[in-house]
């Protein structure tokens, strides 16, 4: 039950002066006089002159106060969802596409999604005895989040898990799923699809024998006007020798009948605004903006992330467009530097190794030493591949690393065996991505040490493992216990392919931050060892912690564009989330609903249908007035 006009409840404030009139008593000095006869007559004259008379506590007042309350409540238009026939089953299909994050009406803080949830909640509350309700989420894939149940708390819990997703929604599939689960339901059952209908074309809903009722949330008027970013890309500039120069390409679309002036502002996280452009976007048109920017990596080698934001020309930057949908007012994109992988070579790497690394045009080699690394002031871990040639530090660095021909007794805690001369390679893990298209069939090593401990062997010789993989929460270390220069491997194509695989893997980890790409509103799938606590900071600054299960931490997020900072142990990852979907940015209700299948029916309501209860309250008001009149006439109210 909700109130369609909650402000009307202010009328109940009339009770306050009413009560005050009753309880307020003026202090008066008593004075004895000869006779009050003339004063009584005079005051009677005064009362006759006044438009009001002295209030005296009486039953009539109580009835009138109740009448005021009932009247105020009636004017507030209390309303609840339509009732469900007794014993019937109802399937509520809720659209969770990105457009549902649009505001429901001009001047309202409600979103279409919140109204949809409210409508579903009202339906749950109006379930009659014996009635059951199920909830189906209509996102990219339909999902039953609550099986048919009469447990209100279970339904409430299921509704609490729903979030607006970043993509579209397959309403037809969701209705079909609901219809399938509603097969054999008693008479009076129905499927209620709650959607904003912000999708193009015709939707054929097949409820089979169950009638489908479409309830629209959102208004098809100016509240649906929207301007949004539908594409963003950051590319290196073709001219010039500076690799850090880039162009930020932004495409903006206007979904309205009127043009809009907006500012497109590009900024870099942690550095501030890079550039801003004013653009006029015509009704139904798209405009492209190119913003040149210098995007050098930070001292850790991390490529910057560009944030593009729309704001009204009449408002200050950062205040947004104030239009229907805010999800598409912000977009983030990695700079082209993400593609360039810094490779830090620690020690004296052999010439074949350096040459193999340089074979990748997007690799930037930095030569350094263990001493220099230890003296770094910056706490941020190196954002790239670290190649140790010979000595290694005591602890593995965060991120990916490669160890070649280690000289110590152990590598990152893993003991090494003595050098073995002319080991015969007998096995290698062809399924490992590092060894993709790599063969050691005709490779001969002059010498190698063996890897002991519990590491996963990568290449095994007759004397033991000569290469292994050390997987840590903060990164991976590939250990080659031999010097490639002391083998004929560099003369084989597989040598360059191996290093290319290694670099690509490090690049993939770095570019995606280790978190697979996804849409806004979808959970972040953060790879992490079981039991690891994963901390995520949302673009809005909220922090949440999730413990990894089965090697992945599933972090639920709201539909929010921007950079999600993920920390897994010492490893810092970044997940970028954007809407960038012109179909979802067009939040104007425009879908047409038709019937699919034999015997199916579809009824469309332009807005969420509510059953207003104010007539009942108004009836109570009339009854109170009648009672008051009866009391006044029969009992002689004064």
């Amino acid at each position: 039950m909700g109130l369609l006009s909650p402000l009307a409840l202010l009328w109940a404030g009339l009770l306050a002066p009413l009560v005050v009139l009753y309880i307020l008593k003026r202090r008066r000095q008593p004075r004895e006089i000869g006779s009050t006869l003339l004063w009584e007559l005079a005051l009677r004259d005064l009362r006759a002159e006044r438009p009001w008379k002295k209030l005296i506590p009486q039953v009539a007042l109580l009835l009138q106060a109740l009448a005021i309350l009932a009247g105020a409540l009636a004017l507030a238009r209390p309303a609840g969802a339509g009732r469900v026939p007794a014993g019937a089953r109802i399937a509520v299909v809720i659209d969770t596409s990105a457009s549902m994050a649009a505001r429901a009406a001009v001047g309202s803080d409600d979103t279409r999604f919140s109204r949809a949830i409210r409508a579903a909640r009202d339906l749950a509350r109006s379930l009659p005895p014996g009635g059951e309700m199920m909830i189906v989420e209509a996102a990219g894939n339909a999902a039953v989040i609550a099986a048919p149940t009469r447990d209100a708390s279970a339904l409430e819990r299921a509704l609490a898990t729903l979030r607006v997703r970043g993509g579209g929604s397959d309403l037809e599939a969701a209705v079909s799923v609901a219809a399938e689960r509603m097969r054999g339901s008693p008479s009076g059952s129905r499927i209620v699809l709650i959607t904003d209908a912000a999708m193009s074309g015709e939707l054929a809903l097949d409820g089979r024998s169950v009638p489908v009722e479409v309830r629209k949330v959102g208004e098809p008027n100016a509240s649906s006007d929207n301007t949004g970013i539908v594409a963003v890309d950051v590319r290196p500039r073709s001219e010039g020798n500076t690799p850090d120069r880039a162009d930020v390409f932004v495409r903006i679309a206007r979904f309205a009948r009127t043009p809009a002036d907006v500012y497109v502002t590009a900024s870099v996280e942690g550095r501030g605004v890079v550039a801003s452009r004013r653009v006029t976007v015509g009704p139904g048109a798209q405009e492209s903006v190119v913003i040149p920017a210098d995007l050098p990596p930070d001292p850790s080698g991390r490529a910057p992330i560009v944030r593009v934001e729309l704001s009204l020309a009449s408002a200050a930057p950062g205040e947004g467009t104030g239009d229907a949908l805010t999800l598409d007012d912000v977009a983030v994109a990695p700079s082209p530097g993400v593609r360039r992988l810094p490779v830090f070579v620690v020690g004296d790497a052999s010439e074949p190794v350096v040459r193999a690394l340089r074979a990748d045009r997007d690799v930037e080699l930095f030569a350094t030493t263990l001493t220099a690394l230890a003296e770094r002031d910056d706490d941020a871990p190196l954002d790239g591949l670290v190649v140790y040639a010979g000595p290694t530090p005591a602890e593995a660095p965060p991120g990916d690393s490669l160890v070649l021909a280690p000289t110590g007794e152990s590598v990152f805690g893993t003991p090494l065996g003595p050098e073995v001369r002319r080991p015969q390679l007998v096995r290698w893990e062809e399924s490992d991505p590092r060894l993709r298209f790599v063969s050691f069939a005709d490779v001969h090593l002059a010498a190698s040490r063996t890897v002991r401990g519990g590491l996963r062997p990568l290449i095994s010789a007759d004397a033991g493992a000569v290469a292994a993989v050390l997987v840590r929460p903060s990164g991976e270390t590939t250990l080659l216990a031999f010097d490639p220069a002391r083998s004929d491997w560099p003369t084989r194509p597989s040598f360059v392919v191996f290093f290319r695989n290694l670099v690509e893997r490090a690049r993939a980890h770095r570019a995606a931050g280790g978190v697979p790409p996804g849409r806004t509103g979808e959970p972040l799938r953060v790879p992490a060892p079981d039991g690891t606590s994963v901390t995520v900071t949302t673009p809005a600054g909220e922090t949440m912690r999730v413990v990894s299960r089965g090697g992945v931490a599933l972090v639920p997020t709201d539909a929010e564009p921007g950079v999600f900072a993920v920390r897994v142990g010492e490893r810092q990852l970044f997940a970028l989330r954007n809407l960038l979907d012109e179909h979802e940015s067009d939040v104007r209700p425009r879908a047409r609903f038709t019937v699919a299948g034999v015997g199916a029916t579809v009824r469309v309501a332009d807005r969420v249908e509510t059953q207003e209860a104010w007539p009942y309250v108004a009836g109570a008001l009339l009854l109170l007035l009648v009672l008051e009149a009866l009391w006044a006439t029969r009992k002689g109210a004064t």
Partner: protein, 288 residues
């Protein structure tokens, strides 16, 4: 002399007497005309002779002309009985001076005139019932007793003029001049008892005693006015509006009493208004 009668006031009263507009039947020969036929020298009428009549009153001249025996009737001169009905209810204890004080002075003045004018004077105090009165007396020698009696009256009880008059008439007094000295602030009203007095051949004269504050109250504050007799409370803010309403009601009340007296032919004197009660009383006595 009592303080109820100041010497200056007495000098002014000396040339006056209590006059009644009616003629009353007295119990003895008095100084004023009686409604009864008597033995004075003033001829009144003839009537047929009946056996047993005093033959000395037969008008022989008329017999000579009419050949019928008729008697000559003369106007009897009898004394006047003045009843002073003095309101001694608690409401009379208020005012500056108290209304009871003024009522006593009026009663003293009237009693003085009556006793010195060979009238019979009786004082009947009343509140909700009649009190112990001053028995009818005649002669100037009783003036002192009268004043002492009046001096001892105290305010007490509620006003019930109707009941008081009923009790007064139940004693079947000889018709006379009844001076009702009261504020007339009686919830039961004053018209009916005064009408009853008139119907019993008395001549009521109204001496209404009010304090100036009761006619024109002074503004000031939020008060609970407590009725001295009934204890009823009236919450009132003494602002200009309330006072104007009260004044209008008070003046209407006074005008109502005056109009009633005029309509019935009763004498009416207001004591306590703009004019001092002595002046008002003397003006009445002169005009009567």
């Amino acid at each position: 002399m009592s303080s109820l009668l100041e010497p200056e006031f007495l000098r002014r009263l000396a040339r006056l007497r209590v006059l009644a507009r009616k003629r009353f039947a007295g119990s003895a020969g008095g100084a004023r005309r009686s409604m009864r036929r008597g033995s004075s020298a003033e001829f009144a009428d003839h009537r047929p002779y009946y056996a047993g009549d005093d033959v000395r009153r037969i008008d022989w001249n008329a017999y000579a002309r009419l050949e019928e025996l008729v008697l000559r009737l003369y106007v009897a001169e009898e004394d006047l009985t003045l009843y002073l009905l003095v309101d001694t209810s608690r409401s009379l204890a208020f005012g500056t001076p108290t209304k009871l004080e003024v009522a006593k002075r009026i009663a003293a003045a009237l009693g003085y005139l009556g006793l010195t004018g060979s009238e019979r004077v009786a004082v009947v105090p009343f509140s909700s019932a009649l009190g112990r009165g001053f028995a009818p007396a005649r002669g100037s020698r009783r003036v002192g007793a009268l004043l002492r009696y009046l001096d001892g009256l105290e305010a007490n009880g509620e006003t019930d003029l109707t009941r008081a008059v009923d009790q007064f008439l139940a004693r079947a007094p000889r018709p006379g001049l009844v001076a009702v000295i009261s504020d007339l602030l009686d919830p039961g009203g004053f018209e009916r008892p005064l009408d009853r007095l008139a119907s019993e051949r008395h001549e009521p004269v109204i001496f209404q005693v009010l304090d100036r504050e009761e006619i024109d109250p002074t503004p000031g504050g939020d008060l609970v006015l407590v009725d001295s007799e009934r204890g009823t409370k009236v919450e009132v803010s003494l602002d200009a509006r309330a006072i104007a309403a009260y004044r209008a009601r008070a003046l209407a009340f006074l005008a109502g009493v005056q109009a009633y007296a005029k309509k019935r032919g009763f004498g009416y004197v207001l004591a306590g208004g703009e004019v001092p009660f002595e002046d008002a009383l003397i003006s009445y006595l002169r005009a009567a």
